[in-house]
Amino acid sequence: MPKEIIKIEDLKREFIMGPETVHALRGISFTINEGEFVTIMGSSGSGKSTLLNILGCLDQPTSGIYEIDGVKMKDLTRNQLATIRNEKIGFIFQSYNLLARTSALENVELPLFYNSKVSSEERRDRAIKAIEMVGLKERMDHTPSQLSGGQQQRVAIARSLVNNPVMILADEATGNLDTRTAYEIMSIFQELNKQGITIVFVTHEPDIALFSHRTIVLRDGNIIKDYKNTNVLSATEELAKLPKQED
C-alpha cells in the first residue's frame, strides 16, 4: 500500500471581509499518496489557490485536519511550519516570485540559506545541480529581468527543488506562459515526478491536467470530481507535435 503523504479532512477556510464571510473551502477531504501527480482544477474563485496555500503551510485552515506524513499541521508552531516549508515543500508561484536584481543561481540558493545544516559549498553545488536540471546552467548568472517568463519559471522550479522536497506545490505555474513553454515546464514536472517527487499542480487549463495522474475539480469550495487519469499524456511528446516555432 502506498504511503499517504497528504491527508486532509473536512478542511474549511473562511475569510471575513467586512460584514461578509466568504467560504473559500467548505469542508473538503482527500488524501494524496507519495509519488502522485495531482492537478487541482477549477474556475477562478473555486478555492483551489486557497487549498494549495494551506497545503503549502503558507495559510492556516479555519477548521479541519491537515496532516503531512502523519503530522498534524495544526499542532506545529510558526517556526516548525517554517522548517516544514523549508525541508519538505517546494512551492512554485504563478508570478515566479524571484528576487529582483539577484542572479538566478542566488535565487535558487535562497531556501538553503535558511537551512543551517547546509554549508556554503554544498549550497552552491546543490543550486548548480538544480539549475542544471531545469536546463539553465548557461544563464545562472542572469538576473530575472534578463530572463524570459519560461526561464524565470524554470529558475523558480529549480528553487523549489534545491531542498530535495517530498512534494512540490505549483500554483498556476504555467498560467503566464505560452503553450510551448507551458509544455516544456510540464515535461520538467513529469520528469521530477518520475524521480518520485509528489506534485500537486493547480491550474484552470484542462489540457494541462491531461499530463497528471489524477484530477481533483473544485467548485465553490467543494470537490465536485476526483478522478484518476487513465491516459496520461507525455509533455515531451506533445511538445514535439506542436508546430515548429519560426525564429
Partner: protein
C-alpha cells in the same frame, strides 16, 4: 552559521539598494556630523574665553567706582569720581592678600610721531601693572617708582601703536612721540598679546606713570580704576571680600548703604562670560538636536518604507522556509550595518568639519567626546529601532498575507 547566512543576506540587500542605503545614511551622517561640529564650536568658544581671561591674569582683581550694575546696560564707570588715590593707598597698606596693586587712570587721545598719528588709549599706572596684566617687555624697560613720583613724561607702547606711528621699522625706544600734543619719551615696547576673545586689540595701548596722566593729560585727582592681583588664584575670592570691607570702611558706608564701588575678580568674569557661552552652546545644541531629530525622522521614514516595499520579499523568504526570527534578524542586521556605517561616516565628517572651521574660519573649536558618543548613539538607535519595528511587524505576518501584499 545561521547568523553568517543572515549577515550575507543583509549585506547583499544593502549592496543591491545602494541609493536607498545612501539616502538613509545621509540622514545619519548629517545628524551626527552637525551635532559634533556645533558642540565643538560651543565648547571651543567657552575654552577660548577661559584661556583669554587667564592670559589677562587670572589672579587679577579690578576695583571700579560706582555700584555694581552689571548687565546689558552697564554705564561707564569712568564718570563716577568715588575712587581716590587714598583708597589705593589704604588697600595697599591693609590688604595682605594682594601681591601687586596699581591705580589706573586712562584717557583716549592721538599718538603722533612726525606725520604719523594713531588714535589710542593711554593708561596711567604704576610699575606693578606689568605683573598684574602678565605682560612682558619686547624692548626697553619699565618706568620706575621715581618716574611715578616725578610725573615723568615717559611711555611704553604696544605693538599696534608701534606699527602705526613707526611704520618705517624705526626702533621706537628713545624716540619722542606726542600724546594729545604733550611730548613723551618712549622707553619701552610691550610684548605682543594679540586680540582677546572680545575682539579687543590688547596691543593698542600706551602706558605712562599714573601721576603723569592725572596731572599732565587729564588734570584730575581721582582714579578710574584700581587693579590688583591676588597672591594666588585661590585667594582671589577672599581678597575681593577683604578689599570690599576695607573700601566700605574707608568710604564710611553704613550697613544699609550699597557699595559705591565694584570689586570683581577674574574668576567672576570668567563665570560671567562662561555663562554667556554656555547659552551659546545650549542654543547650538538645540539647533543640532533639531537636525538630529530630522535626521532620525529621515531614517525612520526610509527604513519604514524599505521594509514595507519589501513585504512581498519577506513573504517569499518565509515561503521558502525563513522563520520570523530570520526575517527580523535580517532587517535588524541591515539597520545596524547602515546606522553604524552612517554613524562612523558622520563622526568623520563632523571631525573634518571641525578641523575645517578651525583652520579656515579661525573659530576656536574643541571636540567633546560626549558629543560624539551622544550623537552616534542617538542616530544608531533611531536607525536600529525604525529598522526593527516595521520588520518585526512584517515578520509576524502569515506568509501568504505578506506574499499577497501590494
Amino acid at each position: 552559521m545561521r547568523l553568517l547566512n543572515l549577515l550575507k543576506i543583509a549585506f547583499k540587500a544593502i549592496v543591491l539598494n545602494k541609493t536607498r542605503t545612501l539616502l538613509t545614511m545621509l540622514g545619519i551622517i548629517i545628524g551626527v556630523a552637525s551635532v559634533i561640529a556645533m558642540l565643538a564650536i560651543g565648547e571651543g568658544s567657552k575654552e577660548s574665553i577661559r584661556t583669554t581671561i587667564s592670559a589677562m591674569g587670572s589672579n587679577m582683581i579690578t576695583i571700579r567706582p560706582g555700584a555694581d550694575d552689571r548687565g546689558p546696560a552697564r554705564g561707564s564707570g569712568g564718570n563716577v569720581q568715588t575712587l581716590t588715590l587714598q583708597d589705593y593707598e589704604v588697600i595697599k597698606e591693609k590688604s595682605e592678600l594682594l601681591s601687586y596693586i596699581t591705580p589706573v587712570v586712562n584717557s583716549g587721545g592721538q599718538v603722533i610721531n612726525g606725520s604719523n598719528n594713531w588714535p589710542s588709549t593711554i593708561y596711567g599706572v604704576n610699575p606693578d601693572y606689568l605683573n598684574i596684566k602678565v605682560v612682558g617687555l619686547q624692548s626697553g624697560s619699565m618706568f620706575t617708582d621715581i618716574a611715578v613720583q616725578t610725573a615723568s613724561k615717559v611711555v611704553l607702547i604696544g605693538q599696534t601703536v608701534v606699527d602705526n606711528v613707526f611704520p618705517d621699522g624705526q626702533e621706537p625706544v628713545g624716540q619722542m612721540i606726542r600724546f594729545n600734543n604733550i611730548p613723551f619719551k618712549v622707553i619701552g615696547v610691550l610684548e605682543e598679546k594679540g586680540e582677546n576673545t572680545f575682539g579687543q586689540d590688547q596691543d593698542d595701548v600706551v602706558i605712562a606713570p599714573y601721576t603723569t596722566v592725572q596731572k599732565r593729560i587729564l588734570a584730575i585727582d581721582y582714579l578710574n580704576q584700581i587693579m590688583a592681583s591676588a597672591i594666588s588664584e585661590d585667594d582671589a575670592p577672599e581678597a575681593v571680600t577683604q578689599v570690599t570691607d576695607i573700601l566700605r570702611s574707608q568710604h564710611k558706608l553704613t550697613a544699609t548703604e550699597d557699595d559705591d564701588f565694584t570689586v570683581r575678580s577674574m574668576e567672576e568674569l570668567i563665570s560671567t562670560f562662561s555663562s554667556t557661552s554656555e547659552m551659546l552652546t545650549i542654543l547650538l545644541v538645540a539647533v543640532a538636536s533639531i537636525s538630529l531629530l530630522i535626521g532620525g525622522i529621515g531614517i525612520m521614514n526610509i527604513m519604514y518604507v524599505s521594509v514595507k516595499e519589501r513585504t512581498k520579499e519577506i513573504g517569499l523568504r518565509m515561503a521558502v522556509g525563513g522563520k520570523g526570527s530570520d526575517i527580523l534578524m535580517q532587517f535588524l542586521i541591515e539597520a545596524i550595518l547602515i546606522s553604524i556605517t552612517g554613524g562612523i561616516l558622520g563622526v568623520i565628517l563632523g571631525l573634518s568639519a571641525t578641523v575645517f572651521i578651525e583652520k579656515f574660519l579661525n573659530w576656536p573649536t574643541s571636540v567633546a567626546l560626549y558629543s560624539i558618543i551622544i550623537s552616534f548613539a542617538v542616530c544608531a538607535l533611531t536607525g536600529i529601532f525604525f529598522g526593527w519595528y516595521p520588520a518585526r511587524k512584517a515578520s509576524a505576518l502569515d506568509p501568504i498575507t505578506a506574499l499577497r501584499y501590494e
